[in-house]
Amino acid sequence: MTQRPLELILARNLMSALSTPAFLVDEGGILVFYNEAAGMMLGKRFEELGKVGADEWGSLFGPFDESGKPIPYDDLPLVTAVRSGRPAHAEYEIHSSDGASHAVEVSAFPILTAHGSQGGIAIFWPAGTNGNGAQPA
């Protein structure tokens, strides 16, 4: 058995303490963790979900562009970030488990180490908020 890269372990530990929804994928694009806040958004805790392949996890929450069309997996910010080694940002709509649509902003960045890319993190914010869930004044 091998250990996950330390950077992923530390990222997971950090994400566990965040109140903003956050997703973690490994270098192969496999969804390896999301936090409780993301679980609330999706309506399912990560422990209930199990391993989700690279081309499957995007469909957990949509997402959809402003015209309501599904956004291809290859265009998701987290995929872009992991593949390009650069941060990526996007705004789109997701569908929560109760079917409601939510406009969100997504920032994703790669986890780059001395051993190369180890994966990436995406953090979701409700669109138009200050990051604490409160509407701007």
Binding site: M1, Q3, R4, L6, I9, L10, A114
Partner: protein, 293 residues
């Protein structure tokens, strides 16, 4: 494989009448492999005593550094073999994008902190970044992995025959996580320590002390025990004693560790506190002490 603890203290040497029994020297463990090859794990102030003990031999040895915090390298410039031209020393340590291992160590072994420079050391010394893959020293297979501490830090596993030693002296695997709830592969250092014959692991803080030291890179007893239990280490030595912990304090701490280990279902004889100059011999086929389920 023979193991001797030459420095068990963390952070800073703590000599004095209060630390005679557990020792005041910082991290260093001497390892003699089954073919006589010599390793030093870390080069804290304890390595000075190791160097004196070696005498004029050997002519070749390896120093495996977990990281470059001062308490793990400060003895290098006082290690007698480095001043012998006939000695070949290979120093292994964590890689860094910042600078080579040699250059990073030279920040300490150079003016104004040191009267000598690395280039002036009479021995034949080489510096190697520890590889990602397993490598061999004599009859032993060596593995390392990055572990949770402050700054680039490695843990090491040395397998010699059927015996293994795992050395993770500075480790905070429970930072931001509950070790009892994590899957094995999400626990820092797990793969190194899994089923090891002898685990030398961070045991710097009591549970009561830990809340004031979260993120400092060291474990409370709770996590040291959880890590040892989860990995199934046959025998565990709690290491890297806080410089504020006197012998009397550590006596009580050791009793608590054994009691809590027993409460977890383990054999109290299979866990102890590191004491300077303590020696351990790992037979080719080590008998398994009971570990908690």
């Amino acid at each position: 494989m023979k193991v001797k603890l030459w420095g068990t203290r963390g952070s800073i040497p703590a000599p004095g009448p209060e630390t005679i029994r557990y020792g005041g020297n910082t991290s260093c463990v001497g390892v003699t492999l089954s073919d006589g090859s010599l390793l030093a794990l870390d080069a804290g102030s304890g390595i000075r005593s190791l160097g004196l003990d070696l005498g004029p031999e050997p002519t070749r040895l390896h120093v495996l550094l977990t990281h470059l915090h001062l308490d793990h390298i400060l003895g290098l410039a006082f290690f007698a073999p480095v001043f012998r031209p006939q000695t070949e020393i290979v120093i292994w340590g964590p890689a860094s994008p910042d600078a080579s291992l040699r250059d990073r160590i030279a920040r300490y072994i150079s003016a104004p902190l040191s009267p000598v420079e690395v280039r002036e050391l009479p021995c034949d010394v080489s510096f190697r970044s520890a590889p990602d893959s397993e490598w061999e020293i004599g009859p032993a297979r060596i593995r390392c992995a990055s572990v949770s501490h402050r700054g680039p830090t490695l843990g090491y596993r040395i397998d010699d025959g059927d015996s293994s030693l795992t050395y993770i002296p500075d480790h905070e695997p429970g930072l931001g996580a509950d070790l009892d709830r994590l899957e094995d592969d999400w626990i820092s250092g797990f793969a190194l320590a899994r089923g090891t014959s002898l685990l030398i692991h961070d045991g710097q803080y009591t549970d009561a002390e830990y809340p004031d030291h979260i993120g400092w890179g060291h474990s409370p007893l709770r996590d040291s025990l959880a890590f040892a239990r989860r990995t199934g280490a046959e025998r565990t030595i709690l290491f890297h004693h806080d410089p504020m912990h006197s012998d009397d304090f550590l006596d009580r701490f050791g009793v608590e560790a054994k009691e809590r280990w027993a409460a977890l279902g383990g054999d109290p004889a299979a866990i102890e506190l590191a004491a300077e100059r303590a020696e351990y011999e790992l037979p080719v086929r080590a008998p398994r002490a009971a570990a908690p389920a």
